[in-house]
Amino acid sequence: MPFLRTILARLAATLVTLFGAAVIVFVVIRVVPGNPIAMMLPPGATEDDIARLQALYGLDKSIFEQFVIWLGGVVRGDFGTSISLRQPVLNLVLGRLPATLELSIMALVIAVFIGGAMALTGTLRRDTRTEAAIDVTSGMALSVPDFLWGLILILLFGVLWPVFHISGRVSPSLDFDFQTQFYLFESVLRLRFDVWADLVSHMFMPSLALAIPLAAIISQLLKQSLKETMHLDYVTLARTKGYSEASVITREALPNAVLPTLTLIGVQFTFLIGGTVIIERLFSYEGLGNMAIDAVINRDLPLIQGIVILFALLFTVVNLVVDMTYAALNPRLRHA
């Protein structure tokens, strides 16, 4: 099974990457000037108090020892305790992860729809003004990063035409007792579409801001791939059978054109997830990224470590999923 071997090799490489990332964060944040412990204590605290608390968080040991202890904890599923929030890092991080996941996935869905529609329209109307307009639009969308799109959306849909919420994840006034952190998912399962609408109204702008650059990339890559496919013999043969140009594109060209696009979208999706950090801040959305910035500002070392490792893990999982989807969609690999 060469396929299985590929996956195993990928997993091994992933572990090395994660380990490297852990070492780097660990070292970098321990060079932080300013004592995080001193910041936690009331002004009257003595040197003794500080020393005791440092020992409590293990900060009195050498970096190497600290790393070994931390790594030992991680292996057992213990990421330490947040200094600023005084709770286990794992609980904090897992509590925020669903919010970020929902936002990222919603952004991905939007990007795939917009980008896909642009690519299909551009292929259908290739070599016309419509295609030129699509090219210009996607070029612009790609030139400007999510942060700026977020601000522009705030102006458009928060100020000029205030139809969406510009901050938070859910309206505080909403009378709904969430059982999980997957708010959007839960609201659908419990058939509370009023709650769902409120959530979507909060997520619309941040997810669109994240989606715009990715949509542009999908539009460009997929259109190029589609246009190349349109010249192939099996596409022509389908045309002679009586299919319309639109059906030929969606039925024959699309399944093939998607494959080369897919691998590239994987990397781009990790960039999108990275973008949630600032977008969540911009929209005061209570996700992982927003928590990360607070953790940095509060010098909360264990929390920063936990969040960064979680992001790294998320990125590698995304890449792995993309590889497996690619293999599953490609008959040549599936039966290899």
């Binding site: 490489a13 000037p33 030139s143 942060f147 102006l155 990397v267 600032i278 990224g289 992001f311 990125f315």
Partner: protein, 283 residues
């Protein structure tokens, strides 16, 4: 091969003119800021807070683009903010380019264990969300211009390393490289004399793109209040303030945002345009 590339050139397109024009304008504005800025960018006048731009009713003609909540002149702050933005773009962009391109060139041309190490580092870097990484570095290094520049170099060198490595790899396999070595050049000599000139167009285009990215990173850092000192005029800082008072004083957000938007768009279009201009074979 190299000659063919530089000979086939297209006319400079409209987008090169427009984006180049905007950046030139911005450079002039930044350099001449002390002469042309109508006000001191730090001067606060609480009685003149949140004055709208001149064409809106109730404006003070002294403040062309209005004032922020502390009565500081928006136009003057944008002009002074351009100094920081462009300094960061130029210095951080160039340093990132030098370091990243060198590592990429070495990895792509020498291959072997050097390549292994550099590629592995790139992989690890790709596992960090860049914005979070930058914020973390600023927290470690402390705020200030030098810290911003270091942070940008540290998070973005991989962008150059990745692309240049791939290009150097393809160039390295071509015949003219082998023949250059037969002629008797050293390996390093070949790298600088034969490979570098061929990847240079890509590097220049990437550098231009990187300048736009540096401007954005600086804006993001000042947006989360981690750039330079708190009341110094920065586009990101103005945007952060404008974001909180957007319902009372839209102009505090809108004008720095437009400036930032045009600047980032121009750098990026300039980069894309240069890529087409240098490279007859579109990639």
């Amino acid at each position: 091969m190299r000659d063919a590339r530089s000979r086939v050139r297209r006319p400079i397109g409209l987008r090169l003119w427009l984006s180049g024009g905007w950046i030139t304008l911005l450079i002039i504005g930044a350099v001449l800021a002390p002469l042309i800025a109508p006000h001191d960018p730090l001067y606060q006048d609480l009685f003149a807070g949140r004055m709208p731009p001149v064409w809106v009713d109730g404006a003070d003609p002294n403040f062309l683009l209005g004032t922020d909540s502390l009565g500081r002149d928006v136009l003057s702050r944008i002009l002074y903010g351009a100094r920081l933005a462009l300094t960061v773009a130029l210095v951080a962009g160039t340093l990132t380019c030098l370091i990243g391109a060198t590592l990429g060139l070495i990895a792509g041309y020498y291959r072997g264990w050097v390549d292994m190490v550099i590629s592995r580092l790139v992989d690890i870097w790709m596992a960090f969300p860049p914005v979070l990484f930058a914020i973390l570095l600023i927290a470690v290094l402390g705020t200030g211009l030098t810290s911003i520049i270091i942070a940008i170099v540290v998070i973005d060198w991989t962008r150059f390393a990745r692309v240049v490595r791939a290009e150097a790899m393809t160039q390295g396999t071509m015949d003219y490289v082998a023949s250059a070595q037969v002629v008797g050049r050293t390996k390093a000599g070949t790298m600088f004399a034969e490979i570098l000139p061929n990847v240079l167009p890509t590097i220049v285009a990437l550098l231009t793109l990187e300048m736009g990215i540096a401007v954005i990173v600086e804006a993001i850092l000042s947006f989360v209040n981690l750039s330079i000192s708190t009341d110094a005029p920065t586009w990101g800082g103005m945007i952060a303030e404008g974001r909180t008072s957007v319902h009372q004083a839209w102009w505090v957000l809108v004008f720095p945002l437009i400036t930032l938007f045009l600047t980032v768009l121009s750098f990026s279009q300039l980069g894309e345009g240069l890529k087409d201009y240098f490279d007859p074979v579109l990639r």
